[in-house]
Amino acid sequence: MAVVFEKPKALSDVPFHYCPGCTHGIVHRLVAEVLDELGVEGNTVGVASVGCSVFAYNYFNCDMVQAAHGRAPAVATGLKRALPDNVIFTYQGDGDLAAIGMAETVHAATRGENITVIFINNAIYGMTGGQMAPTSLPGQVTQTSPYGRDVKVAGYPIRVCELLSTLSGTALAQRVTVDSVAHVREAKKAIKKGFENQINKRGYSIIEVVSTCPTNWGLSPKEAVQWLRDNMLPYYPLGVYKDVTAEGGEN
């Protein structure tokens, strides 16, 4: 009998602190699998952001830096400029990337900063207990939109891939999800492409993973997956928003 599925080498033995059914864990594993497959763990520096994934530095076996809230793209830029031949990735939540870190995100993208960004869009601030995120849906009830997100007051959700695809430095902007085996496989392909782009110096790659937060959505893991399908995916259509390799060109 051969092992057909086991924990990737690039993941440490520290058990995840995530809530039951939280998709952060699946995405961690996919990133680690890609590091394994590309054989770059020893050459990689990951940047953990501030959000539920803040402890990512414990989970990946590569070198890790923990960045301030929203500043992972800047930290990654500093690392990449000092280590142009290493592989640098950030792992960021929607609050981190699209709220406090919006300027750093737009500028890393427009600079074509040669990094790979894993972006967990779970429409909420998980870590701090369920406040509205820039990606929370219209009408969504959160701790800080207790009557449902009123777009007249709190504004409209931001579609990050669409926004960043207007920038010349973006090499890949793709939205995936992990609600099913097929989608998980697709997500992994996208993540792999994001890392390959970096190795081929094509610029900024962002893989947005539409994710769940069962805890702060107040749903069971199973219900959360269904809510994601029913509510998130219509607002955040899966797909490739920019891909310079498809356009046939380097950046």
């Binding site: 602190h17 995530y18 809530c19 039951p20 539920c52 870590m127 805890t215």
Partner: protein
């Protein structure tokens, strides 16, 4: 300091630790005592352990963080193991023996084992195990007046959740008879 009661409630998240602490706190309020209620907070709460310090006193309260409890309510094994040695000599430990399969080895404390979760399950009041222990604590320590205890449970449960209130009242009673 004799008139100060330092209470620590500890277990998993989801076992009603903070709620029970609040009930005790309200009983203090209704008795006109000084009191404080302090939860553990932070990411470790998710699914992990959860605990809550409650202090009842006749004097204004210094630190609301209970590190050496007079009373420990332990709702799972890790919590009991973590705090058993912190209880002051002569103190009280209430153990949910449905959840905890070990015994307290100390002899200088009063230990009460109540099959709280099992009893709660049998009475269809799954979330009320800890309230049974609060009832037991009341019986053994009389930490507040009966009126205050009854009033407290009404304070902490919103009026519209009458069914919940009834269950909790029943749980308190079961505890007082346990």
């Amino acid at each position: 300091m004799a008139n100060t009661l330092n209470i620590l409630l500890a277990g998993f998240g989801g076992q009603g630790i903070l709620f029970a602490g609040k009930t005790i706190a309200y009983s203090g309020l209704l008795d006109g005592k000084e009191l404080s209620w302090l939860p553990s907070y932070g990411p470790e709460m998710r699914g992990g352990t959860c605990n809550c310090s409650v202090v009842l006193s006749d004097e204004s309260i210094g630190s609301p963080l209970v590190t050496t409890p007079d009373v420990l309510i332990a709702m799972n094994r890790p919590s009991l193991e973590k705090f058993v040695d912190k209880v002051v000599p002569g103190g009280t430990i209430l153990v949910d023996s449905s959840m905890i399969d070990i015994k307290v080895e100390r002899t200088d404390v009063n230990v009460y084992y109540v099959d709280a979760t099992k009893i709660a399950d049998e009475n269809n009041m799954h979330s009320c195990a800890i309230i049974i222990l609060v009832g037991k604590m009341f019986k053994e320590l009389g930490f507040c007046s009966k009126e205050a205890l009854d009033g407290a449970i009404q304070k902490v449960i919103p009026a519209k959740k009458a069914a919940m209130l009834e269950l909790n009242q029943k749980a308190l009673e079961i505890g007082q008879n346990a």
